[in-house]
Amino acid sequence: MIEVENLVYEYPTTRALKGVSLNVADGTITALVGPNGAGKTTLLRCLAALEDPYSGRISIGGLDTVASPREIHATMGYLPDFYGLYDDLTVRRCLTYAARSHGIAAEKAGAAVQKAAQSVGLLDRMDSKAGELSRGLRQRLAIGQAIVHEPRVLLLDEPAAGLDPQARRDLSALLISLRDTGMTLVVSSHILAELEDYCSEMIIIENGLIAGGKAIKVRDDARPRYMIELATARSDLREFLVAHNTDVIEADEHHALIAFTRNPSARARLVRDLVTAGFDLASFGESSKALEDAYFAQVGRRT
């Protein structure tokens, strides 16, 4: 759905993106993570055809962002990190304006508004003014405006910033439900724990480049991530694990993060082999912080 080839973006004083290439598959939720100033927002704005790249190419659903920006705008939803709402308009009017300005005919706008409001859980607030809503509800309204025209791609920049835990949980459920309708989502955030709930892939942006050069699978039910910890350091841990059909994500003398089959017999065999080979095994278990592990594994490898 989204293809980026060697994207370079320059501000007058700095090169924000230095040759980013990535692919985002249809119907997925991809996390865009990285430290502040890494280039996440710039990348999202380029994807939204709001900024022209210096060089490189971005294709959204087969449309080039430079050649066909308005066509892309019509099929895209985008929620910036700092967004505004028309505080003096009711939720109904905010959504109606969003629908009409996205080309939905007047006679169909009412149904589209109802559907969007239902998706974001605002049906009972239709006559409330946007300025009277809580932060979480404002976030929902902003997302409702971005999806009222049922875009194929939805870009969200730090959507969970400032939300309380319940609102974050609701947001996760909302994003999963949108993905289940076939929408492709790219979500930028620096709160890894929250992304874990709904992202299938993660792209780490660091200093204008994709760390590791490609997206990382966040969760793979067939081959989850496991953390191995040794009580006594062994320098040959990596070699051993590679030889035993594991995907080593990160390893040093004391621990290893691997992707391995969920098959219980295979896991038991691996543990047995480790012990037999003299590794002083302190723990072996599925990683509960898969995204965080993957992030630091990737960033750590570069540094």
């Binding site: 700095t14 090169r15 308005r70 895209m76 300005s101």
Partner: protein
Amino acid sequence: MNPEFVRNAWLEMTPRRVAMMIGLLALTFFAAALVGGAEWGPSSVASLLYYVIVVIWGSRSAALSVVGEIRDRTWDGQRLSSLGAGTMTWGKLFGSTVYNWFGGLICFAVVLLNVAIHLGPVTALIELIYYLGIGVIAQAAALLASLIAISRGHSHSRFEIFAYQVVGLAAALAVYYVWSAADPVAAMTAHKSSTETIPWWGVACDARAFLLGSLAIFAAWTLLGCYRAMRLELKMRNGPLVWLAFLAFIGVYVAGFDAWLSPNMKGWDPVALRMLLAGTAFAVLTYLMVLLEPKDRVHYRWIEGQVRAGHLAKAFNALQAWMMSYGATLTTGAVLAAWLARDVLVASSGQALVLAGLGFLTRDVSVFVFMQTLPGRRRGDFGALAILFALYVLAPSILAGLHIEDFLFLFFPQVESPTWLGAAVAWMEGLAIAAASIARLALTEREERAAAAA
């Protein structure tokens, strides 16, 4: 109906505001009827209030129509809508000012009623055109100024918003004076032919028709400018053709006034004078646009990259208005210099003056570009203006004070002896600063790439 207009109407035309406008105006007219006397009756007050509500306040509303969206962080959402540039432009222009127009039309109804009763329906119709025209042009000019500022990355402060409003008011003043000079009411009601003519392209044009026609054409260009600026905001490509058409129009329009110059330019034939006028207009537009347009060195590098890659059409389509205006000035100046060679009386001095002018234009444009390559370039335009002030005002004043006026040719075009010295110096200055600008652009690119690689 236009969704942008409807949204603005929702926000602006709330029942409370509508009631307030009606109530206040009704009370004002009532008070004027009671105590205003013959001079300040309801009609006069209504006319004054129309200017206040539609022209003064309306210009501010129009200036805020996009700036306000940026300030309230709703502009990106609008840019991502499916609305076309035309729809967005008129939705903004008339939507953001719908409350002003509501009040203005109440005022105008009072004016119209008085005019229709006392002066007849024809006069009322002419007044309608005038009042609508001055309102739309003032608001469109303010909107255009705000859109140009947005493209430069400036837009938010109260002073800047006031500046856009002032542009609208200046346009309104121009309309007022042109309309007053043309006096169409006199033409239509008293059937008075214009007592004055305007010589244009050797034809004595009726002043009234000429002024009104010019007004209509420039208003159309202003609206087209709004549309084009909005296209850029919506990430649409403009291409160079409309600006080239504008240059052609301005060149032809201004060149027609050669009769005004001929008494002071002995020996210059009409063709040379017309080229001089057109070239001067192009030069003025070059200065104006190089000041107004964003001078983005990333954009300049991109154009250079396209030229190097042989993608000349892409590079041509990305040219900024000041570049095209500069090219038109150079071309016209070169043709003029060649044309002047036909006449031995003016050939040498005329050619030198024209070429010196082109050289100084090159220098001045290069100063603007050069200042953008320096650190702290957000104030680059201010720095460039300060340098030009020093070159054109301060340095010549000092030379005059020291009684060494012979060196004025170093700063602006002078017919000097030997004749070609001024032109040679101008071009040396121009090329030196142009080379410095290009070198700075290349150097900063190399530094940035080295920093990026590090």
